[in-house]
């Protein structure tokens, strides 16, 4: 090996590091042209939402809410990588999306300030995090099911989503869930799409991948005939990628609930009251517009009736 002087050996890596840092800052400076859907104009609109949000008049003494207020921070179990729902903007470090916005609004309702700490939870750990008190609430596309309701309490539903089928653009013959019979179908691991596909097409072969981008990639590479995923996510994908096409309308209805500690009826009532308030004041619709409304055309849908999903009564 050719000997280089100590100074030279250090000079190159240091220069590289300096350059890449300069590049990074340059990126975050000019971040307005973000490619993340739902991030458009993010910060400002979020602040508007928070400014218009209500604050609870009084908190019952000794309640969970009072403890949260004393702590000064609402600890939310959520994702940092779900586009349109709860995704961290790499430039601003702010978490953007429907779930993230609702988390901030609830924090303001309890504490008076939108102080939220997101603990990255996964579908395997949510029940445990709630029951051992690591997180106060879970906002994470948490579908309300009677099985889950045995371990956690669900406020809401606060949003109702549905699964749709996407295929490659030139694919024909798959227009409804019944057409999935005997086909290879791609789904995200740990998503409600897996049981839903089994229900409509029991003999379909299900292939799962960890993340949404991996699923889209697999669909484009022909590892499956179709990809079943939440409508909002697929709309965002289809908008960015013209080779992916959505076939038909949503074929399920997936009520998302706010996960709370099992048995905390006081807090469940409190959160449901808050949901009713923001639905009545139109804040719910504005929050929807700020995230999912950036890819779905038209007005905000009717929010689902509180307590309507089995498991949320």
């Amino acid at each position: 090996m050719v000997r280089t002087s100590a100074r030279k050996r250090w000079a190159v890596p240091v220069a590289v590091a300096a350059l890449s840092l300069a590049g990074l800052t340059a990126c975050s400076d000019g971040d307005s042209g973000s490619s993340v859907p739902g991030a458009a104009g993010g910060g400002g609109k979020q602040d508007d939402l928070v400014a218009a949000a209500p604050v609870a008049a009084n908190l019952p003494a000794g309640s969970t809410m009072e403890k949260i207020k004393k702590r000064g921070q609402l600890i939310v179990g959520g994702s940092l990588d779900a586009p349109l729902l709860s995704q961290q903007n790499p430039g601003t470090k702010k978490v953007e999306g429907l779930d993230a916005d609702f988390g901030r609004l609830l924090a303001k309702y309890i504490i008076g300030k939108p102080e939220v700490k997101i603990v990255n939870s996964a579908s395997e750990t949510r029940e445990a995090l709630l029951s051992n008190g690591t997180v106060d609430v879970v906002f994470q596309t948490y579908s309300i099911t009677p099985e889950r309701a045995k371990q956690v309490a669900f406020a809401g539903p606060y949003y109702s989503s549905g699964l749709v089928i996407a295929t490659k653009k030139d694919k024909t013959g798959i227009t409804s869930p019944a057409d999935l019979k005997g086909k290879t179908v791609i789904a995200g691991a740990n998503t409600p799409a897996i049981p839903a596909i089994k229900k409509v097409a029991p003999d379909a072969k299900i292939v799962t991948f960890g993340t949404d981008p991996e699923c889209v990639q697999a669909l484009k590479q022909g590892r499956g005939d179709a990809y079943v995923q939440d409508e909002a996510l697929l709309l965002a994908t289809a908008k960015q990628d013209p080779t992916v096409k959505i076939q038909g309308k949503p074929f399920t209805s997936d009520p998302y609930g706010i996960g709370l500690k099992h048995g905390d009826t006081q807090m469940k009532q409190f959160v449901n009251d808050w949901l009713k308030q923001i639905q009545a004041s139109g804040l719910w619709a504005r929050t929807w517009k700020n995230s999912i409304g950036t890819v779905v055309e038209g007005d905000a849908p009717q929010p689902p009736a509180i307590g309507s999903a089995p498991g949320s009564e």
């Binding site: 579908s123 395997e124 750990t125 029940e127 445990a128 099911t145 099985e147 889950r148 371990q151 691991a189 740990n190 998503t191 409600p192 897996i194 049981p195 299900i206 292939v207 799962t208 991948f209 960890g210 991996e214 990639q217 697999a218 590479q221 022909g222 590892r223």
Partner: protein
């Protein structure tokens, strides 16, 4: 415990796929490892270099990265195979590197007199390796190869990340429906423990049977 008994078929299928992945990978890794170890001790310089490059490249990149490269990268250049096949090939090549190093250490443990004697008898390099050196080398490294076998079993869980529904992925799917992570993943863990226990027993038996008395 209903959580487990209601989903026995899912767990069973997952376990079966894990066993298939492990056995195919082990067989492949043993072949690949022996070939690469032979290259690394051969008198031909190019072969030695190629063997070393293989081991360094395969060992120094994590298996998950290899799997993602093979599953999502290769189709971009027109190479596409099934998820199971791709996973087996990747695990074989990856574990082959570790196996090669274990076998090479076994070859180094064979006294040099054995090789010299083989040459004195007029055996070619291939003959002396096949008939004299490798049989003794493999017997010395039964235990390290057993460890690599257990590591291979554990590493098959990474195939879950690229869509192979082996035991870990099956447990994940059951948990999605039942939301009982502790019972479900403990069950999967017990499955892995049972399999690695079997591998350990087999290794011990083989080691005692094939021990070289020097």
């Amino acid at each position: 415990m209903n959580v487990i008994t209601d989903h026995l078929s899912e767990f069973g299928h997952g376990l079966l796929l894990t066993v298939e992945l492990t056995l195919l990978s082990l067989a492949g890794a043993l072949v690949a490892g022996t070939a690469v170890a032979a290259m690394r001790v051969s008198p031909v310089r190019v072969l030695r270099a190629a063997g070393m490059a293989y081991v360094e490249v395969l060992q120094n990149i994590p298996l998950l990265v290899w799997l993602v490269i093979a599953v999502f990268g290769l189709p971009e250049i027109g190479v596409i195979a099934g998820l199971f096949t791709t996973s087996v090939v990747v695990i074989v090549l990856y574990q082959g590197a570790y196996t090669a190093e274990a076998i090479r250490s076994g070859i180094n443990a064979v006294p040099s007199g054995q090789g010299e004697a083989a040459r004195a008898l007029g055996l070619t390099f291939t003959q002396s390796l096949r008939l004299v050196v490798l049989p003794q080398a493999l017997r010395t490294v039964v235990q390290p190869l057993g460890n690599i076998a257990i590591m291979t079993l554990m590493n098959t869980a990474l195939a879950a990340a690229v869509g192979v529904v082996e035991l870990t992925a099956a447990a994940n799917r059951v948990n999605l429906a039942e939301a009982q992570p502790i019972w479900i993943f403990v069950t999967a863990g017990l499955g892995y423990m049972a399999l690695s226990g079997l591998l350990g027993l087999a290794t011990g038996t083989l080691e005692r049977k094939w021990a070289i008395l020097r």
